[in-house]
C-alpha cells in the first residue's frame, strides 16, 4: 500500500468497498441466474478483477468516454449504471440498458458506457477516434479503453497505439492483464510478457500496477489521467490482476491448477481493502455488515426489476437496424 491511502477518508473508503462488493455479489447472483437459465448466451464474470474497474473509474469524470470489453459488468456498475437495468439486459428484457438487444456482452448507456464490445480489441481504435474527436472539438475529456492482455496480441492494439501516439489523442489504454486469454496463458501468447514495455515502441508512457489493490490502481489511474489531461498524449496502464472464475460459463478450466487460483485468492481485492481499512480503524465490522446488507438489497432489487421486465414485441425485431 502506498502513501496515498493515508489520505483516504472514510467516506471514500466505504464507497470503494461498496462498489467492489456490489460487483462481486451482483455477479455471484448473475451466475446463479445463469444456472437457473434466466440468463443465457455468454456470461463472463469479472470476479477477482473488481479493483481495476473501480480503481480506474475514480480518476474519470462524467465527460470522459469509457469503452470496455465483453467482461464489463464491473465497469458498468463502477460507472454508476443502474444494476436493475444491467440485470434486465442480461435477462433480455426491454427494460435493459440496451433494450435487451445486447445481453451480458453489450451493455450500453448513453454517455456513460460505450459498450460492451465483444470483438477482442475491436473497440481500441474506436476509443482513439473518440479521443481524436475530442481533440478536434477542443474538449478536455479523454477516452478510456479497457481490454485484456489477449487484445494486446491483436494487430488492432498496435494500430490503435500507433494512431493514438501519432495523433497525440487523449486515450487511457487500460490493459487488464489477468494472465489468460481465454485458456491460453500469457507466456504462450506474448513474446514480451512485461506488457507495459510495449508502450515504448510507440513512445507512449506506461505504468504497471498491482491490479488486486484498488487504492494502488486508483492512484496510478489518477496520475495517468493527470498526465493525459496536461499533455494531451495517450497513456498505457497495465493492471496485473486475476480472474477467479472460469472464462465463461462453458469453461471447464483445464488449463490452470486450482492451487494457482487459491494462491491468487489470497490477494482478493475485497478482503484486502476491508482488512486494511479496519486495521487503519477507518471502518468497523459493523460498517462491513451494513455494506453487505445494502449490497444484498441492491442486488435483490436488480433481480426483481429484471424479473418484472417485459419482452420486446416481435413486431419490433427490425427496429434499430437503421435510424428512424
Amino acid at each position: 500500500m502506498g502513501n496515498s491511502e493515508k489520505n483516504t477518508d472514510r467516506g471514500k473508503a466505504l464507497e470503494l468497498l461498496y462498489q467492489m462488493l456490489l460487483i462481486r455479489r451482483f455477479e455471484e447472483k448473475s451466475a446463479e441466474m445463469y444456472t437457473k437459465t434466466n440468463i443465457r448466451g455468454f456470461l463472463h464474470l469479472y470476479i477477482g478483477e473488481e479493483a481495476v474497474a473501480v480503481g480506474v473509474m475514480q480518476a474519470l469524470t462524467d465527460d470522459d468516454y469509457v469503452l470496455a470489453t465483453y467482461r464489463e459488468h464491473g465497469h458498468a456498475l463502477a460507472r454508476g449504471m443502474d444494476p436493475g437495468a444491467i440485470m434486465a439486459e442480461m435477462y433480455g428484457k426491454q427494460e435493459g440498458c440496451s433494450r435487451g438487444r445486447g445481453g451480458s456482452m453489450h451493455l450500453f448507456e448513453g454517455k456513460k458506457l460505450y459498450g460492451g464490445n465483444a470483438i477482442v480489441a475491436g473497440h481500441l481504435s474506436m476509443a482513439v477516434g473518440m479521443a481524436l474527436a475530442s481533440k478536434k472539438q477542443k474538449k478536455n475529456n479523454l477516452a478510456c479503453c479497457f481490454f485484456g492482455e489477449g487484445a494486446a496480441a491483436e494487430g488492432e492494439f498496435h494500430e490503435a497505439m500507433n494512431l493514438a501516439a501519432l495523433w497525440q489523442a487523449p486515450v487511457l489504454f487500460v490493459c487488464e492483464n489477468n494472465f489468460y486469454a481465454m485458456g491460453t496463458a500469457l507466456q504462450y501468447t506474448h513474446s514480451e510478457t512485461h506488457l507495459e514495455k510495449k508502450g515504448a515502441a510507440y513512445g507512449i508512457e506506461t505504468m504497471a500496477v498491482d491490479g488486486m489493490d484498488v487504492l494502488a490502481v486508483g492512484q496510478a489511474a489518477k496520475e495517468a489521467v493527470e498526465k493525459i489531461r496536461t499533455t494531451g498524449k495517450p497513456f498505457f496502464l497495465v493492471c496485473n490482476t486475476y480472474r477467479f472464475r472460469a472464462h465463461s460459463m462453458f469453461d471447464a478450466e483445464l488449463y490452470r491448477d486450482k492451487s494457482e487460483v487459491e494462491e491468487w485468492k489470497k490477494r482478493d481485492p475485497i478482503p484486502r481493502l476491508r482488512d486494511f481499512l479496519m486495521e487503519k480503524k477507518l471502518i468497523t465490522e459493523q460498517d462491513v455488515q451494513e455494506l453487505e446488507k445494502k449490497v444484498e438489497a441492491e442486488v435483490q432489487k436488480a433481480v426483481d426489476f429484471a424479473e418484472a421486465g417485459t419482452w420486446e414485441p416481435i413486431e419490433e425485431l427490425t427496429k434499430f437496424v437503421y435510424s428512424e
Binding site: H106, V128, G129
Partner: protein
C-alpha cells in the same frame, strides 16, 4: 432556361468537388485516408485539398486500415462527420471487422442509443489491368450487411452528389467509386449537388426490356441501349445506385412495363446482387414476365492481368447487346 445549363466534368473532379463542398459546408467533416494529403490522393481525387483545408481536416493516415476505419467510427460516435477513404476495396477486407462488427451493429446492439454517421469511400472496379488482388467488385459483400447503407457511384451526377447526401445520414454509409471512370468526362447540371440516396433511377426509358445494373455497368448498359436502339430495340436502363437497402419498387415497376429483365453486374455471379434482384423479380413480378430473367455477371475467376482475359472476365457492351437480342426474338 438557365436551369438547363450543364458543365463538362471528369468523374474525378466531380468526386473532388463533392468532398470540397462537404468540407466547406460543415466543420465537423474531415477526410482521413492513406495518401489523401501530401500525395494528393492515390487517384488524385483529393489533390490540393490539404493545401486548402490543412492537415487537421485532410489527414494522412498510416497503413492501418482497421485502425483508421475504427477511428473514423469512433470520431463519428463522438460527434464528427468523418469521410474515411479506403484506398481501394481490396484493402477494405482489413477494415471489414470495423465496418461489419462495429459500424453496422452499434445502433441495434445499443438498443437505438448510438448512431454511427461515418462515410467510408472506396475505389473499386475492374479494367485497369491490376490483376487479382487489385480488381475486385465486392459490392455484394457489403450489400449483405444489415445496418449499412451501400451506394454505388455509377454516374458523374452521383459522383458529384452522393457523398453530400451520405454525410447527412445518421447511419454508416459505404460508397463505391469506380477508378477506371476517373478520367471519363460527362455533362452534369451546372448546379449539381446532393442527390437522393434512397431510390434506384431509370437512366434511360424504354419499353422492350429492363437492363438492371449498377456501378461500372451503368455506362456500358447505356451504350448498349444506344446500339440496340439502332436495331429498333428500346431498352430501359435502371441504375440500382443504392445497393442496400435495395429499392425494389423502381425495378419492379420497370419490369412491369417492359416484361423482360436482364441484370448486369461486374461482381461474381454466384450469390451476388444480380441473384438478389432476379429473386425479387421472380417473387414479386413473375406474372409480368414474358421471358425468364437473365443475368450477365463477372466470370467466377480471380481477375487475370492480360487485357484480353480481363475484358473477358466482366460483361462488356457487346455482351449486353447480344444478351438482349437473344431475349427479344423478332
Amino acid at each position: 432556361m438557365a436551369d438547363n445549363k450543364t458543365i463538362k466534368i471528369t468523374y474525378r473532379e466531380a468526386l473532388k468537388q463533392a468532398i470540397r463542398e462537404a468540407l466547406l459546408g460543415d466543420e465537423r467533416v474531415f477526410l482521413m485516408g492513406e495518401d489523401v494529403g501530401r500525395y494528393g490522393g492515390a487517384f488524385a481525387v483529393s489533390k490540393g485539398l490539404l493545401q486548402e483545408f490543412g492537415p487537421d481536416r485532410i489527414m494522412d493516415v498510416p497503413l492501418s486500415e482497421s485502425g483508421f476505419t475504427g477511428a473514423g467510427i469512433g470520431a463519428a460516435l463522438a460527434g464528427m462527420r468523418p469521410i474515411v477513404e479506403v484506398m481501394t476495396v481490396n484493402f477494405s477486407l482489413l477494415a471489414m471487422d470495423q465496418i461489419v462488427n462495429n459500424a453496422a451493429t452499434l445502433l441495434h446492439m445499443s438498443g437505438g442509443q448510438l448512431n454511427v454517421p461515418v462515410v467510408i469511400r472506396m475505389g473499386c472496379g475492374i479494367g485497369r489491368q491490376l490483376a487479382a488482388q487489385h480488381s475486385h467488385s465486392w459490392e455484394p459483400l457489403y450489400a449483405h450487411i444489415p445496418g449499412l447503407i451501400v451506394l454505388s457511384v455509377g454516374t458523374h451526377e452521383d459522383a458529384r452528389g452522393m457523398l453530400l447526401s451520405a454525410l447527412k445520414s445518421p447511419d454508416p454509409v459505404v460508397i463505391f467509386e469506380y477508378t477506371y471512370m476517373l478520367n471519363m468526362e460527362a455533362e452534369i447540371p451546372a448546379g449539381a449537388g446532393a442527390v437522393d440516396i434512397s431510390k434506384a433511377k431509370v437512366r434511360r426509358e424504354g419499353k422492350d426490356i429492363s437492363i438492371i445494373t449498377y456501378g461500372a455497368g451503368v455506362y456500358k448498359s447505356l451504350e448498349a441501349a444506344t446500339e440496340l436502339a439502332a436495331s429498333g430495340i428500346e431498352a430501359e436502363v435502371v441504375d440500382l445506385r443504392v445497393l442496400r437497402p435495395l429499392d425494389e419498387t423502381t425495378f419492379l415497376a420497370s419490369v412491369g412495363k417492359t416484361h423482360r429483365a436482364l441484370v448486369v453486374e461486374e461482381a461474381w455471379r454466384s450469390v451476388g446482387l444480380a441473384a438478389e434482384v432476379s429473386a425479387r423479380i421472380t417473387e414479386k413480378a413473375f406474372y409480368e414476365l414474358d421471358a425468364p430473367v437473365q443475368r450477365l455477371c463477372g466470370v467466377e475467376v480471380p481477375i487475370p492481368y492480360p487485357k484480353h482475359l480481363e475484358d473477358a472476365s466482366v460483361p462488356q457492351r457487346g455482351d449486353i447487346v447480344r444478351a438482349v437480342k437473344k431475349m427479344i426474338k423478332p
